[in-house]
Amino acid sequence: MQLLQQIINGVTIGSFYALVALGYTMVYGVLKLINFAHGDLFMWGAYLGLTGVSLLAGLAGAGQPWMAVPVITGVLALIALTGVLVERVAYRPLRAAGRLAPIISALGVAFILESIARNVYGARWRTYPTGVAPAGGFVLAGSVRISTMQIAVLVISFLLMAGLYLFVQRTRVGTAMRAVSLDHTVSRLMGIDVDRIIALVFVIGPGLGGIAGVVVALYYGSFDFTLGWSFGLKAFIAAILGGIGNIPGAMLGGMFLGLVETLASGYISPQWKDVIAYVILIIILIFRPTGILGERVAAKV
């Protein structure tokens, strides 16, 4: 019973990690760049969501669940736009400059985004207006319960991930995205506009991150400007764990990390959850350095 409850909680947190991890992994896929700014784009999603929800709650007099829909949509658009802008301004001019310069540029963007957030919204913890996160829940059996918010999280994450997976695996542009992540030069010979595919990745990755920002903030209720660094770093680890560059890997890695953390916290000790989770992580990486799903297929040369 206790186990089922922990699994429900773990999968919820795991889907947050997974949604954010997708942004890291997709950008790594097409650019071989660790987009350190991604965690802060996600954090900005939480803040922009706060502004949106506060605005609507102020107009309506109180927070209501429907407000999440327009706010998430708006945040998705704004963060996607920011993502494309970051790529255009901070990464594209450095594409021929080797591996190090773009990483430093990404770290720079991360600090810029974090500082702006702290200056605009303040360093204190911020709380979403009550009434937006759906209240209540269901008793599944005995003491095991699932909240309406958890159901919403699971449904949203599942739809987003399934949609992304189908897009990447089944459509022409999704296949082109996989082609670009394998070889830019040959992709250009196919008539694929590589710059446009990369821009599209910076729409989807940060877009998903932005959605995750709002949903995470709704789930926990409050957050501060370090959200991008702390939570984002774990999502990055989830991406590595699953096999960076691999989209199903990011989903799997996120779920795995969420579950391990929750189970360690529930069965052993909340204070020791990070120690246990990362010991397991290190063990996995020792045996599978490329991550759980990383580079399963060796290319013949």
Partner: protein
């Protein structure tokens, strides 16, 4: 007017002057081959035509339209397909997906894509057998078939082939060269870069010999095959 006309072409790799004033023509319906030693600039010429490296001097025109400054992904749309050296197939995409990427510029025109795929499968039945397999799991010869097949998926008028016989067993080399002839007979003009000068000269109409970034000899393939200098330098005869 030539289908492909290159005039006094100059390119650089960094500070290295790779092509030093190349002039060559390919007429509609021909197989033209570029032969020469390693590093002579044969692949560079193909890379310049398909827009992968910038033109620093001179001009390239295709079907009367200049290609100078046109980005690589737009050159495919003009009707020039490039099968690169070294069998750069997409390893984690299936054979069918690789072919579909070759037809990327056809957009959602499923009829044309299916028609072209059927044509490729007719040329290379092995690819049809392996259509669900990942590209990276194919043998070297099959990967070469996929590279050529993929380039044909865009319905090109000019096919650029870079070292299609490299590293293949003699029997497969024969098959590849027979297929190139077949592709040409179906109306596709071919510009072929080869180290295997003898095989290339046998199927080509005309040929250019390159040495350190310059064209040193040009003429009918049959004439070059009999030429004393070519025989000594490239056909390994004393």
């Amino acid at each position: 007017m030539s289908l492909l006309h290159i005039e006094d072409l100059d390119t650089y790799y960094g500070y290295v002057h790779a092509l030093k004033g190349i002039t060559l023509d390919v007429e509609t319906g021909e197989i033209v081959t570029l032969i020469g030693a390693n590093g002579a600039g044969k692949s560079t010429t193909l890379r310049a035509i398909s827009g992968l490296i910038p033109i620093r001097g001179g001009s390239i025109s295709f079907d009367g339209q200049p290609l100078n400054g046109v980005p690589a992904h737009k050159i495919v749309e003009r009707g020039v397909s490039h099968a690169p050296e070294g069998r750069h197939i997409f390893g984690t995409l299936t054979v069918t997906e690789n072919l579909n990427m070759g037809a990327y510029i056809l957009g959602k025109d499923q009829d044309a894509i299916t028609r072209n795929r059927e044509r490729v499968f007719k040329l290379f039945p092995r690819l049809e057998e392996r259509r669900r397999q990942l590209g990276g799991t194919l043998s070297g010869g099959e990967q070469q078939m996929l590279t050529i097949g993929r380039a044909l998926m865009a319905s090109p008028r000019l096919l650029l082939l870079d070292e299609p016989s490299l590293g293949l067993a003699p029997l497969l080399v024969r098959l590849i060269f027979d297929t190139i002839r077949e592709i040409n007979a179906a109306g596709v003009t071919v510009l072929l870069v080869e180290q295997n000068a003898r095989a290339a000269l046998k199927i080509a109409h005309r040929a250019y010999v390159m040495e350190t970034g310059r064209i040193t000899l040009a003429g009918d393939a049959a004439a070059l095959l009999a030429d004393e200098r070519v025989r000594k330098a490239y056909l390994g005869e004393q």
